[in-house]
Symmetry: C2
Subunit: 692 residues, 2 copies
């Protein structure tokens, strides 16, 4: 909503409409499943829709790689395009379904995405929904996603929603009663950074509160957090996380009943209740716990959004988007491009890309090889076509492909009545018969995801550690006994330590419906991998601070102290070539980076810029302040200009104050400017001093 | 085992080996998971393996259409070839896995297939495992399957097992305590027919008892049934159904504890216990409930089978079968051929085959379109490639294919939090946009199958009626509102009444991993359908005798009295052409049938021969006594000779005596010789009198 007049017009209309409602009617509109008010011509509306990586849970749509995988692309334009397609498909479905009177959940225009929480701890099951551990990367991609969802017209294409505000990143098992404690430094330097950016710079239309308390206040009724939104000029709607307001009296114990909880949330500024607690608003009003003004003001916020979306009469620029755009070939091609750019190559002893002419038989082994769940991740749509890893490989290779499931994803046997490890003899056999093994490992949303969604009884969707499940560790051991070359492909939404040296190691994330095609194209060298880790891969979670400790000290590349616990650094990822930064200059907000592809393959790569102030008070090691995806031909040089945001020239004091510094060190490379990254990547970095 | 000397040799070796065992050792070998006896060089062996339609539950194998679908092919040679491939893959896996010491369940050579129970009532969930309602068809295909599994060498390729002996066909919910009552007539004319044939003519190596009682005796310890096997000269092994012996004291209440149950089964002649009851055999011996001789004789039976299989030393003709045959292209091609020959065309107003050149957009709608479960049926293997209905159609059509799940298979909504019918707006939309709708309906093994296996809480795997689930009926209603032409494809293992007139109706069964390819080739006319129903499709199950009534009176085409309840008759199925029988002669056991393809397409079809004695005492309407699949070119005539078995010239008296008659009426057509079949098929039949 770039146009202030359009906003003002929407708000005026909303005020007028709400003024015609009884207070009971106004209160009814604050439920996520708000009923029709027929006498005022207001149709029913369900505020709940999901779109983390494509429109979700609304039939057939384009299924893009999971958010964490999109982050691995380090490609702002791509993320915008994914969101743009998502909102196009949302409008396409909305156009026809609403005409048929279908105004059900997941079919509206208020998308509860993106998830811009910081992936602070690799054990968090919902970390896959985020853009990783870095606030700058998160904010940059989050803004691009909001832009794609909301569009550039006066009427919002769809309404994005930044969630979960704030200081929310597990553990899932205690999220309903947990009090996240964050000091002023971490709030400013980490937890609020992306939310502020999305509100101020992307005009995100919605903000969703978190389940947990933040420094004692429930996030969905936190005066502190609401005051931040106010300071940032937030003019959209605030929604509770689903059934979070119930937690006030059932888990957080900050109120004694649902009436009090409803009042508390409303009074704090929560406009719409995902859940059912707001059925008590009129009782709260009668008990003097809230006011009619509060109810009406929340309703005005909500109807302002609905007017901004053009949902209450008149035409919109989106009315002619035809249904046939949904999951069309062009959109699938973009999903394929996203998969290509998301899959990270972590190890390669030279076996990749595979030379088909030298291969007669490939063994594809493992529990994720034929899985569509590992393409989907969570909060996913449904595709009419899935390219699994196995299908991708079979479609790309004319020789014999032998397949074995190898083991269950996490159970100790595939057949209930069998002995443990009942597929290992098959796995061993097909490995023995092959020239090379593609070992497909990993997790899926049944064991890595959200509390309540998953079958992971031990940790409510979180990981207990960074290891693969025991069943898969045994499979690895078995396959390695054959002595055959092994390329491991790990599908997971988070850091995994395979504890094994493979000939090559690929981290595929949850790579979207076209994931298998992209994987095969990388394996066989039709394209070069070019993605980078948006999170640090640690060796051992036990070396990290406690999962419930929200201090950032010792966490993520920005604050890590124990470098020996890093397996693969944030920002790391190999290509089939070698791109070296050869020069760096800075002038008036722009860094100019020259680079050369000194390898023998064409490839894309990511130029990463990090910055650190020359000020002892700065507690960060350094931080990402710019990045650019570049396309390079073997042997050729290039140059790219990267905008460095003004905020990069600030840092946060221990007291949480953001202050400017005068001089900085600016680093450029295709990785982090540290020893491990240089060693893994085989290239150095270039750095310069910058005075502001 | 064609060679009596080889049998005798195996039995001698078995006697010698068992004589070296202690009685405890001998008793241990009667468990399905029999342990090694190291001092005698006997490895562990698990008797339990499954192979109804391809090797099951043992990793990647060729997944053929379900047994009921194979029956619909009316193709004895095909059924033999399917079983031959199944035993080839079983040996291939056994060769490598046993060398690796993997002697687990589903990895042995004793296959508990085929299921030759008579599909007496269309509500039975396990009817899909059988060859349908007709004893002659069941026996003919059953023998072919046994032949394919057991091979033609002196050493058995694998050991087949005829199950479940006998009088077993639901209801699943009461199978553990049920007493099936069958009179002498039905036993001879229906329930024992195929078992007798498989023992006498196919030398089936195993027989498995049923869960239920038969006329008061538990089938796994029935003196009556065992005496029949003895009379037929059965020389193989007898196995209990799994945990059936436990039912003796827990459900049938014919014994008071597990020791008595074990003794009862062993004494009756049950050699191997699927379950754990035989751990009590030594206690039974000590209590004087059985004898050492009984234990040793059972062990001799089992080791005779193991010697026949060449499992105890020496080489076999199968040792060189390489692992790479498993799920190889050639085997998949046979599965594809089976799918083609199994899919039945029930209605066609001329819309089929589809003319691609006139179609821009096809809508594929319905909960079975992307399902691999409807390709698998139950007791299935796992394929490395599945061609779903949607994939088959997409791969065969260059225009736009729009897909919607339409509804859940049986639940009232797809998304838990949504309103009911939450995919109907999508289904309506894609149907509206299409030139033609392929509506993919049906069931799968989660709601049609075995007690204990299924999620069908109402009927333990059985169907309550012949209707599609409510969710699908609502989908049909929604799609029909668009007025678009609709081709319905029903995947189910049994009769379904869709209660709707479609432009075309296809019954696809559970059509194997290549099912979608075969379906698409039929839809687009690359091949003509040619399968026939191996069961009567009724309009209403309520018009049938009670499900628990095992009298055949009023059941199946042989005894049906209420013809108005028949929707599609046994033996019925359309092609894209019209094949008419033009002449019939009989001489010395052979019928010669001439026919003409008077339509405009090349097609295969099935010549069906039925017989009825000129004797008032015969209670059958008539019965199938021969069939032949023929290949015909449009406009051309042909001739086929069909062997009529000697038994066809007998009938069974009310007292259960099989007697010869002197004169018969013999009918030939591509369907049953009744009015409804003639009308549906658009062709008549030819009949002659035969005097013997």
């Amino acid at each position: 909503m770039k146009n202030a007049a359009a906003y003002s017009d929407a708000r005026n209309k909303a005020q007028e409409l709400v003024s015609k409602m009884t207070v009971e009617e106004a209160a009814s509109q604050l439920r996520y499943d708000s009923p029709a008010i027929e006498r005022l011509g207001i149709p029913a509306y369900n505020w709940w829709n999901e779109a983390l990586h494509g429109l979700a849970r609304n039939g057939i749509t384009t299924v893009f790689p999971q958010a964490i995988a999109l982050a691995a692309s380090f490609d702002e334009k791509l993320v915008f395009e994914v969101a743009d397609i998502t909102s196009t498909e949302t409008r396409a479905k909305f156009n026809v379904f609403s005409k048929q009177g279908d105004r059900d959940i997941y079919k509206g225009l208020t998308m509860w995405a993106p998830n811009i929480n910081i992936f602070r701890d690799p054990r968090w099951g919902r970390g896959q929904e985020t853009y990783g551990e870095d606030p700058f990367l998160t904010a940059t991609l989050g803004k691009a996603y909001v832009h794609g969802l909301q569009g550039d017209e006066d009427i919002l294409k769809t309404a994005a929603c930044a969630k979960h505000f704030a200081v929310h990143s597990g553990p899932e098992g205690v999220r309903h009663e947990f009090n996240a404690e964050a000091d002023a430094f971490d709030l400013e330097d980490t937890y609020l950074y992306a939310f502020e950016e999305l509100v101020k710079e992307a005009d995100v239309e919605g903000v969703m509160g978190a389940y947990n308390r933040v420094n004692g206040e429930p996030a969905c009724a936190s005066d502190f957090l609401m005051s931040k939104l106010h300071d940032w000029g937030f003019a959209g709607y605030f929604v509770s996380d689903c059934w979070a307001i119930n937690d006030f009296h059932t888990h957080h114990m900050v109120t004694s009943n649902a009436v009090e909880s409803a009042a508390m949330a409303l009074n704090a500024g929560c406009d719409v209740n995902c859940g059912c607690c707001y059925v008590n608003l009129i009782a709260a009003l009668e008990q003097g716990l809230t006011t009619e003004e509060k109810i009406r003001e929340a309703a005005v916020h909500l109807f302002t959004t609905r007017y901004k979306l053009g949902m209450l009469g008149g035409s919109t620029p989106y009315d002619d988007i035809p249904y046939t755009v949904c999951a069309c070939d062009e959109h699938k091609q973009k999903s394929y491009e996203a998969s290509q750019k998301a899959i990270v190559l972590l190890e390669n002893n030279g076996i990749l890309p595979l030379d088909k002419s030298k291969l007669k038989t490939i063994a594809v082994i493992g529990p994720t090889a034929t899985s569509t769940a590992v393409l989907e991740g969570n909060y996913n749509g449904t595709s009419d076509t899935y390219h699994t890893f196995l299908e991708g490989i079979k479609d790309s290779f004319d020789g014999r492909v032998l397949y074995s499931e190898g083991c269950h994803l996490f159970k100790d046997r595939v057949s209930v009545l069998a002995q443990p490890d009942d597929r290992l003899s098959e796995a061993y056999t097909v490995a023995s018969l092959a020239d090379v093994v593609i070992l497909c490992l990993g997790l899926d949303a049944t064991i890595e995801g959200e509390e309540g969604d998953t079958g992971n009884e031990f940790a409510a969707g979180d990981k207990l550690d960074l290891r693969l499940p025991e069943s898969q560790r045994r499979l690895i051991e078995c396959v390695r006994k054959t002595g055959k070359p092994v390329i491991a492909v790990v599908a997971a939404g988070s850091a995994i330590n395979t504890e094994t040296e493979f000939d090559a190691l690929i981290h595929a994330w949850y790579s979207g419906a076209e994931g298998g095609r992209a994987l095969a194209d990388i394996l066989f060298g039709r394209i070069s991998p070019s993605a980078k880790l948006p999170v640090t891969f640690y060796k051992d979670a036990d070396e990290l601070p406690d999962f419930t400790d929200y201090s950032m000290k010792g966490r993520t590349y920005r604050y890590i102290e124990n470098g020996s616990n890093v397996l693969y650094p944030f920002g790391f990822g190999l290509t089939y070539s070698k791109v070296e930064v050869t020069g760096l200059t800075y002038d008036s907000g722009n860094a100019k980076v020259s680079f050369k592809n000194t390898g023998s393959s064409d490839t894309q790569d990511v130029i990463e810029l990090y910055i650190k102030p020359d000020d002892e008070r700065c507690r960060e090691n350094y931080h990402l302040c710019g990045f650019a995806r570049v396309d390079t031909k073997a042997g050729q040089s290039g140059e790219v200009t990267v905008k460095i945001p003004d905020k990069a020239f600030t840092f946060v004091t221990e007291q949480g104050e953001r202050v400017r510094a005068g001089s900085f060190k600016l680093y450029a490379s295709t990785h982090q400017p540290d020893e491990l990254s240089c060693k893994l990547n085989g290239t150095d970095f270039v750095s310069i001093g910058v005075n502001i």
